[in-house]
């Protein structure tokens, strides 16, 4: 270990370890991207015998991929909507009032994402079958929304805390009812937090596999489709292309959310 003077430089070993870990973290994804273009059918031989964009065309033709993609998009959008409403209501209640169960609400909101996915998954599945509700898009959305509420809740609550409450009072003092105050004063101030939270919820839902396995019926979201392909080597490059879509569908919203909240740690919680 290097000498501990305040301006000391790190030892070579430490720097090398840091670089190695970074490479370890990033190389696998580049591999997927590379193998989306390989000419070889089984798609893992390295070095790839050749590069092509044909597989994009093949994927385009696959009806099952399209179905899965559109389902994932729909579910993610609905989830984001539900999470936005529930998360904002909860954050508003917790921020405004001092009431008995305040910490309980925070705990309750974070529980679905803190507990392992199989627990949430099987709990919801048995509850759904117990109530006799058929498995459908809506049951998937219910599952996703439950653990997505927390990302909206955290973002909106943090923004509430950063905004001076005197503005709300000033608005009411000037004659605006709470509804008008929400529309003219509160909403503009939490707009980017809402967007960021919504994006994170979208990304979380788009990528989700564990809970979805339990709460979906015959429907296939894109992750489920990929999951089913995991042990089937047929047309691997097509799977890689689907994987590219999933990467894009998770990475881009999170990047946008990160930009909007200027890189708070909330964005980091998204990667499950």
């Amino acid at each position: 270990m290097a000498a501990r003077a305040p301006t000391a430089r790190a030892s070579f070993g430490l720097k090398a370890a840091t670089v190695a870990v970074l490479l370890f973290l990033h190389l696998p994804l580049t591999v997927i991207i590379l193998f989306a273009f390989t000419t070889e059918d089984a798609a893992f031989r390295f070095p790839p015998p050749g590069l092509t964009v044909n597989w994009f065309g093949v994927a385009w033709q696959r009806a099952d991929i399209w179905a899965a993609l559109s389902l994932s998009l729909r579910v993610a959008a609905l989830t984001a909507l539900a999470a936005l409403v529930l998360g904002t209501l909860a954050a508003a209640a917790v921020h405004r009032s001092r009431f008995f169960g305040r910490e309980t609400v925070s705990f309750l909101v974070i529980l679905p994402i803190a507990l392992p996915g199989i627990i949430t998954g099987i709990a919801l599945r048995s509850a759904i079958s117990l109530l006799g509700i058929p498995f459908s898009v809506w049951t998937i959305v219910i599952g996703h929304a439950t653990f997505c509420v927390v990302v909206v809740y955290n973002n909106v609550l943090a923004r509430f805390r950063r905004t001076a409450y005197s503005q709300v009072e000033a608005s009411m003092d000037l004659g605006a009812s709470p509804f008008q105050t929400f529309r003219y004063i509160v909403l503009p101030s939490i707009a980017t937090a809402l967007l960021a939270g919504g994006m994170l919820a979208f990304a979380l839902s788009f990528d989700e596999i564990i809970v979805t396995t339990f709460t979906a019926g015959q429907q296939e979201t894109l992750p489920i489709w990929i999951f089913n392909q995991l042990t089937k080597p047929r047309q691997r490059p097509v799977t890689n292309i689907a994987a590219l879509f999933v990467i894009a569908g998770t990475f881009i919203p999170i990047l946008l959310a990160h930009r909007m909240t200027q890189g708070t740690v909330e964005a980091g919680r998204a990667g499950r």
Binding site: A164, S166, Q167, E169, A170, S171, M172, D173, L174, G175, A176, S177, Q180, Y184, I185, P188, S189
Partner: protein
Amino acid sequence: MASGVTRPGAEPARERASTSAVRFSHVSRAFGDVQAVDDVSLDIDDGEFFSLLGPSGSGKTTCLRLIAGFDHPTAGTIELHGVEVSGVPPYERDVNTVFQDYALFPHMTVGENIAYGLMIKRVPGAEREVRGREMLELVRLPGMADRRPAQLSGGQRQRVALARALINRPRVLLLDEPLGALDLKLRQQMQVELKAIQRAVGITFIYVTHDQEEALTMSDRLAVMNNGRIDQVGTPADVYEHPATGFVAGFVGVSNLVSGETARALTGLPATFTIRPEKILIREPGASVTDGMCWADGRVRDVVYLGAHTRYWVELDAGGELVITQQNVESTSMDVLAARDRRVRLVWHRLHNRPVETMG
């Protein structure tokens, strides 16, 4: 003294119902065990500039919030122009507030901020613009309508907050330590402007501050608050010349509080009284004393030169200490500082001794 109110400086009940802008009747506000406002009764007249003066935690801001409607009293009633307002939310009261942190809406321009109240009331855009411009003229910020609050200085923001409140023509305007964040020169300038605006617009101003000089400068009447209670209500001259309690004497201006043995030695009676530092004259030891004057011998313990005047601390032979303030009419700093450790005789008119109760 009317009702159960025993505070020496509290107002006797007056026949002012017809012109009362704000009336507190035995209002209390408790937060758990803490009484932020303790049995306060108050009558503020229409059109007057009324100040609530007191140190932090004395309950003055709480009183303001009770008037605005952001808080409910735990006891007592509040009337605005004769109407009880306990169930009326802030957006239904004919009262506007200038907040301590100005609370300007950052995502709106200055013009939109000022016209906000009118916009809520669905006043058409053209009229909003005209009245907005009028307001900007009134607070001496012409042409700033398109700026954003972030681009303004503290003093400018304060004036925008004022304009935003005044444009709604409320019958009562509440101001919560609005000049606190400004430097001294700007503050003094704004005090004059606020007073002028109040006279021009003619509405009731209720002004909260901890700066006694500010309160004395601007108010028609003021209330001194201490620990949630009102110690005294009166005109600035009343409160300064005839402090009702030791607290008021000490808080409003500098004062000497003399009690016990020292009081007996100086006046023959052990009753507590206050004497203002500027009323005491410093003479040579052994100087003659005419009838009707109090006197005491002592030694100058410390001297502080304050430019326009000098402050002396004199240890009395009779025990205790008095603070004296003198204008530097002819003496220089060298002269006054040489007074340290000198023996002196203090002389003042007996009339200036103000008896007080030693509460607070």
